[in-house]
């Protein structure tokens, strides 16, 4: 059996066996819109789930469903063991010890956890929780390419505390403009929040330069890994950051579980965000004390099944090998960029080549609004995302109302990209804007 589904002439053999992988994803065998094969190019929004993840959740509910870290019965013991085993697995996946892994609902909640902890620090009654307090005169730095999830919590933190929000801009080719890094990140900077891989542009950011500058001025660094952890090897030991956040549902895991990784020393100096059961040490009517991390940040009965499901997703990715996942997507991205940019009227918003670039490809089609492009693609069974991709400042920066975005994953093959390219041409035909070939050749 060949390793690829219909490989175009000249294109490299894909590192992953797409046909075998597709068989692991039940949803990929369904049809959409009058019997068409589902071409799922929206993994950047949420990924599909392999059978092993679905089985792990079902197995939990059928065999040892109980609230972890409570109760002395056998089911509670087994649930606790499975929950903590998943924490160890997920931690190892990013090179982190388990006590630095906090489970949240998703990346958004993980970022809010940190943002609220930093403002709660200012009013904490415990002196040891005030170390990273943010207040008037302090600065928080983000970038113009952040997902709203890594922008609004910081805007709000600044509004609550009187701190100032600053940001690094973008270059015309979709990269961070680091020319003023030295002034934007300065002695007043308390935290720098930056994405590792842009969800809309696909850009992979040069984190080393940013973390080095943050170190110089003693600022914390939070990396948004929602689009990087699912698609490339990430090791917190070499990341140079204090926090990393990612979402389970974008990496073959269930919805409702995300991760905040934090350096233990930093987590230990932060007050809680949400309070309640599980996160306490001693509770009295007059006041309470809290558990050490990670429990301090996990109030209430956790999303046990989802955590166990995410553990299974991580094991699935580990079996494939994250280096292979990255190489697979690089090959697809190179092919897709070449094919899409060969269509007259198509403009890629973001890096036009594969240098420091992931597999999120945003583009516009001259004369057709992205919603209408998406509708034609949907009619052909192709699922893409259209709109501003929760990164409104980015589309504004590039002067477009919205884009069409295709994202790839482990089950994506060349045939999916061919379908996308044919679909874009079909949209041009349908709306009567197909430019003549000579126009493309002479431009």
């Amino acid at each position: 059996m060949t390793a690829t589904v219909s490989r175009p002439a000249g294109a490299p053999v894909l590192p992953l066996d797409v046909e075998a992988i597709r068989a692991d994803f039940p949803i990929l065998s369904r049809t959409v819109r009058d019997g068409r094969r589902l071409v799922y190019l929206d993994s950047g929004a949420t990924s599909q789930k392999p059978t092993s993840v679905l089985d792990a959740e079902r197995h939990f509910y059928e065999n040892y469903n109980a609230a972890p870290h409570r109760g002395a019965h056998q089911l509670a013991e087994e649930a606790t063991a499975a929950y903590e085993a998943a924490r160890a697995t997920i931690g190892a996946f990013i090179g982190a010890p388990e006590n630095e892994v906090v489970f949240t609902r998703n990346s958004t909640e993980a970022i809010n956890l940190v943002a609220y902890a930093l403002s709660n620090a200012a009013t904490a009654k415990e002196p040891e929780f005030r170390r990273y307090a943010v207040g008037q005169g302090d600065e928080i730095v983000v970038t113009e390419m952040e997902h709203h999830a890594n922008l609004l919590p910081w805007q709000q933190l600044c509004e609550r505390t009187g701190a100032t929000l600053r940001w690094l801009g973008l270059t015309d080719d979709g990269r961070l403009d680091l020319s003023d890094l030295g002034t934007v990140v300065n002695e007043r900077t308390k935290l720098v929040a930056v994405t590792q891989q842009s969800n809309i542009l696909g850009t992979i950011n040069p984190l080393g330069e940013i973390t080095a500058r943050a170190r110089e001025v003693g600022a914390l660094v939070l990396i948004d890994g929602a689009q990087s952890v699912p698609h490339q090897p990430v090791d917190v030991a070499t990341l140079g950051a204090d926090f990393l956040v990612f979402s389970g549902h974008k990496m073959l895991g269930p919805t409702g579980v995300g991760v905040l990784w934090g350096r233990y020393e930093v987590l230990d100096a932060l007050p809680p965000f949400l309070t309640g059961g599980s996160m306490i040490e001693v509770v009295r009517m007059e006041g309470s004390t809290f558990m050490p991390p990670p429990q301090r940040f996990e109030a209430g009965v956790p999303m046990t099944a989802q955590v166990i499901g995410l553990g299974a997703a991580v094991e699935y990715l580990q079996r494939l090998g994250m280096a292979n996942v990255l190489a697979h997507e690089e090959a697809l991205t190179a092919y897709a960029l070449e094919q899409l940019q060969a269509i007259p009227g198509v403009t890629v918003i973001g890096p036009p080549d594969t240098v420091a670039r992931g597999g999120a490809i945003s583009f516009t089609v001259e004369g057709i609004h992205p919603h209408d492009v998406g509708q034609v693609l949907d009619d052909l069974g192709i699922a893409v995302r259209v709109g501003h991709h929760c990164a409104w400042p980015v589309v504004r920066r590039y002067g477009v109302p919205a884009t069409t975005r295709a994202t790839f994953y482990v089950h994506t093959g060349y045939d999916d990209i061919d379908a996308l390219v044919d679909g874009v041409r079909e949209a041009q035909r349908f709306f009567g804007v197909a430019p003549s070939d000579s126009e493309g050749a002479t431009s």
């Binding site: 819109r33 919603h371 509708q375 109302p401 919205a402």
Partner: protein, 155 residues
């Protein structure tokens, strides 16, 4: 292919050659509405003569459905009383909630004229908001126009 059911020729005609486009004076109210899920925008002005809609002028950017919808709306509401125009808006809302039920479209055909062509859009929940944006803007602008010029004598 189901696309034709959504993109009726009437819709594409309105999209390519919009009626009444451009912002004009005089006006009693101007509103700006956005569709936050996709970033589509419309700026819409209403000019009343008494309680009659004397002009609706607009600028906007968005998909074919949202742009065609505002154009078809312009044709429908011009010269109507605010009450009648808003009632037509309610009928359009009913059409958008019909989930492609042909009986609903048939019943509303006489009142909605060209706008009944949007019946196909009602089968696509994600696009219903696109078609409704301009009608929401009209409702908002009319209410403001009535409250700022309660007598209509200065119109």
């Amino acid at each position: 292919m189901q696309l034709q059911s959504m993109y009726q020729d009437i819709i594409l005609d309105h999209y390519r050659n919009p009626h009444g486009r451009g912002l004009r004076d005089p006006f009693e109210a101007e509103v700006h509405h956005v569709n936050p899920t996709c970033g589509d925008e419309v700026t819409l002005r209403v000019h009343l003569d008494g309680d009659t809609i004397a002009d609706v002028s607009y600028e906007g950017m968005g998909c074919s459905i949202s742009q065609a919808s505002v154009s078809a709306m312009y044709d429908l509401v011009l010269g109507k009383s605010v009450t009648d125009a808003l009632q037509t808006g309610e009928q359009f809302m009913t059409l958008m909630q019909s989930k492609g039920d042909a009986a609903v479209a048939e019943r509303l055909e006489d009142d909605l004229e060209d706008a009944v062509a949007f019946a196909g859009v009602s089968k696509y929940p994600a696009r219903v908001k696109c078609a409704l944006m301009s009608w929401m803007a009209l409702k908002d602008a009319s209410a403001r126009a009535l409250s700022t010029a309660p007598t209509g004598e200065n119109a």
